[in-house]
């Protein structure tokens, strides 16, 4: 019942609607960016069109991968932080948490139902973004073989060539793995929202903290600290885009991310369990 209630609240909050709209806008900008870049590079000879077998390096799958990459690192963590902040701090601030606490519900039921619904929602958003990116890629550019080269995205050490079906399988794996990766910022925002009772402050602090950790994990100066930031492992889903997937590596990085997630959640739950409602 409580999960149904949480789901109903989420549905009526309009957050999913605005998130989905933002994702469409994001994909539109990415597509536009690609188009203008390609036009500059080819001197205006770009011809984006629908085809199932696009033989050029840049095809719909490459587009989807680029869009997904930036979304998982920058866009979706913001949604995760917003969701975590809205769930606990939002209800505390609106005092609707009183309504739930004044019913025969344990704090763990409240906490874990919120967590479950938030994570499911995040999982859906990741899938939605991926599906929409693939569809946009198919309609506007056309799919084909996914060729990956060591480069800016650092998707691979060496050149990888994935057939269309292999690439689609990799995308399916990436959906699950990216959701696992995003569980860490979600758990972080849960932790902060159990401490900070104002949702605006909780969300902005979560986002700021994520960005700080992300930047630090990217800059070489912090190389000794990197293993201690969860953001250093957030790109582990990229390992799914290999001709031969190294599952050992994936499980290892996934376990690191989940270790951070569970630590954040344990601290958040402890705080939520023991705190007083002022």
């Amino acid at each position: 019942m409580i999960c149904k209630f949480e789901y109903h609240k989420l549905k009526r909050s309009h957050r999913p609607f605005y998130s989905m709209l933002s994702i469409i806008l994001y994909l539109f900008f990415i597509l536009f960016g690609f188009y203008t870049y390609a036009q500059t590079q080819t001197g205006g000879q770009v011809n984006f069109r629908y085809t199932f077998e696009n033989r050029s390096y840049f095809n719909g799958l490459t587009f989807a991968l680029y869009a997904f990459y930036f979304a998982v690192m920058m866009v979706l963590p913001i949604f995760a932080a917003t969701e975590g902040g809205a769930q606990v701090a939002g209800e505390t601030h609106n005092r609707t948490l009183y309504l739930m606490l004044a019913r025969p519900l344990s704090r763990s039921q409240i906490f874990f139902s919120k967590l479950f619904v938030s994570f499911s929602y995040l999982f859906f958003l990741v899938g939605y973004l991926l599906a929409f990116a693939l569809l946009t890629g198919l309609v506007f550019v056309g799919w084909g073989t996914l060729n990956l080269y060591p480069g800016v995205l650092q998707m691979s050490h060496v050149h990888q060539s994935l057939s269309q079906s292999e690439a689609l399988n990799s995308f399916a794996c990436a959906w699950v793995l990216a959701s696992v990766a995003l569980s860490a910022p979600l758990a972080l925002s849960f932790l902060l929202s159990t401490w900070i009772r104002n949702p605006l402050n909780a969300v902005s602090t979560s986002i700021a903290l994520y960005l700080i950790l992300y930047v630090m994990s990217e800059i070489h100066f912090f190389v000794k600290l990197r293993p201690y930031f969860f953001t250093s492992y957030m790109g582990f889903w990229r390992e799914a885009f290999r001709e031969e997937i190294l599952w050992g590596q994936i499980f290892q990085d996934g376990a690191k991310i989940l270790a951070f997630t569970f630590v954040f959640l344990a601290l958040a739950y402890r705080r939520f369990r023991l705190r007083e409602e002022i």
Binding site: K4, L101, P104, L105, I278
Partner: protein, 310 residues
């Protein structure tokens, strides 16, 4: 009163927020089937007391039990028997009145104990929101929110109902309806009610007992009728030499040149007449002046501050 009839026991409850003492040794019991009113000025500690009762706060000192359970550590058990209507009414603004009701009243209960749709409709009709079921709560007035929060607190029927400022924002007719409803709940369903309110005139009409708190301290706790009796006065108008009156009645208060006041039940009319005749004073008027709860509260408050000064 037997111990089995005591639903809530609070002993020497203290609560401190940082450096501010919100409650300082409040004692009270809530008996089965009564309406206990919790009265106090803003910042007196009423909300803190209700939060302690709900298990949202832990008392810094003292012990509170609700149905023999600690409300902080055994909140789920307590909440099966107690229902709260907080003020100002917290509700899910994005949901409709029906959504608010149907989800809240079923939370934490096994399916067989879920109130039926008919019950929910009945309660919504009772609070006058039957026609606004599908409207979003965000568009509700304060009074309508009060009604809705009350409606959710009535399902499933609790053993103890705690209402925080339930009359705020209600029109006079609704206040009267609420009064009738609370009396019916007590009389017909045996629901015990703890009522926190500023409207002392309403409390006077429905509450059996009252707990006055001021700056976290109890200034009166007991039956309203006893308090009113204690605080009501005799107004006596006389004709003749009034100098000896002070000798006769040391506790008297002079109201005017020919009128003085005595605490109620000090003396009967016949005794007064006889006594005054002895001093050759004519008794013109003898009134028993009833006091309002508001005046009684203010008198208690004054008495307490004087006591503190001395």
């Amino acid at each position: 009163m037997e111990s089995t009839d005591i639903l809530v026991t609070a002993k020497k409850i203290h609560h401190v927020y940082g450096k501010r003492q919100a409650l300082a040794g409040v004692d009270f019991d809530i008996y089965k089937g009564e309406i206990l009113a919790l009265v106090g000025a803003n910042g007196a500690g009423k909300s803190t007391l209700l939060k302690i009762l709900a298990g949202f706060l832990r008392p810094t000192q003292g012990k509170i039990t609700v149905f023999d359970c600690n409300p902080y550590s055994q909140r789920e058990i307590v909440m099966r028997k107690v229902r709260f209507a907080f003020a100002p009414p917290p509700l899910y603004d994005n949901l409709t009145a029906w959504d608010n009701i149907q989800f809240l009243v079923r939370l934490g209960l096994p399916k067989q104990e879920h109130p039926s749709c008919e019950d929910m409709l009945k309660v919504l009709k009772l609070v006058g929101l039957r026609d606004r079921l599908d409207d979003r709560v965000s568009g509700f007035s304060f009074g309508m929110r009060q009604r809705l929060i009350l409606a959710q607190a009535l399902l499933p029927m609790p053993k103890l109902l705690v209402l925080d400022e339930p009359t705020d924002g209600l029109d006079p007719l609704a206040i009267r309806e609420l009064r009738d409803l609370l009396c019916r709940l007590r009389d017909e369903h045996g629901v015990t009610i703890l009522l926190s309110s500023h409207l002392l005139s309403e409390i006077e009409k429905i509450a059996d007992r009252v707990l006055f708190i001021h700056e976290g301290k109890t200034i009166f706790y007991g039956e309203i009728t006893k308090l009113m009796k204690k605080k009501s006065t005799l107004e006596i108008k006389i004709e003749g030499d009034t100098t000896s009156i002070a000798q006769m009645f040391p506790q008297m208060e002079i109201a005017s040149s020919d009128t003085f006041l005595l605490p109620a039940e000090t003396i009967s009319l016949e005794e007064m007449r006889v006594k005054l005749q002895e001093y050759n004073i004519k008794l013109c008027e003898f009134h028993h002046r009833k006091i309002s709860l508001e005046d009684a509260f203010l008198k208690e408050l004054r008495a307490m501050s004087q006591k503190e000064k001395t």
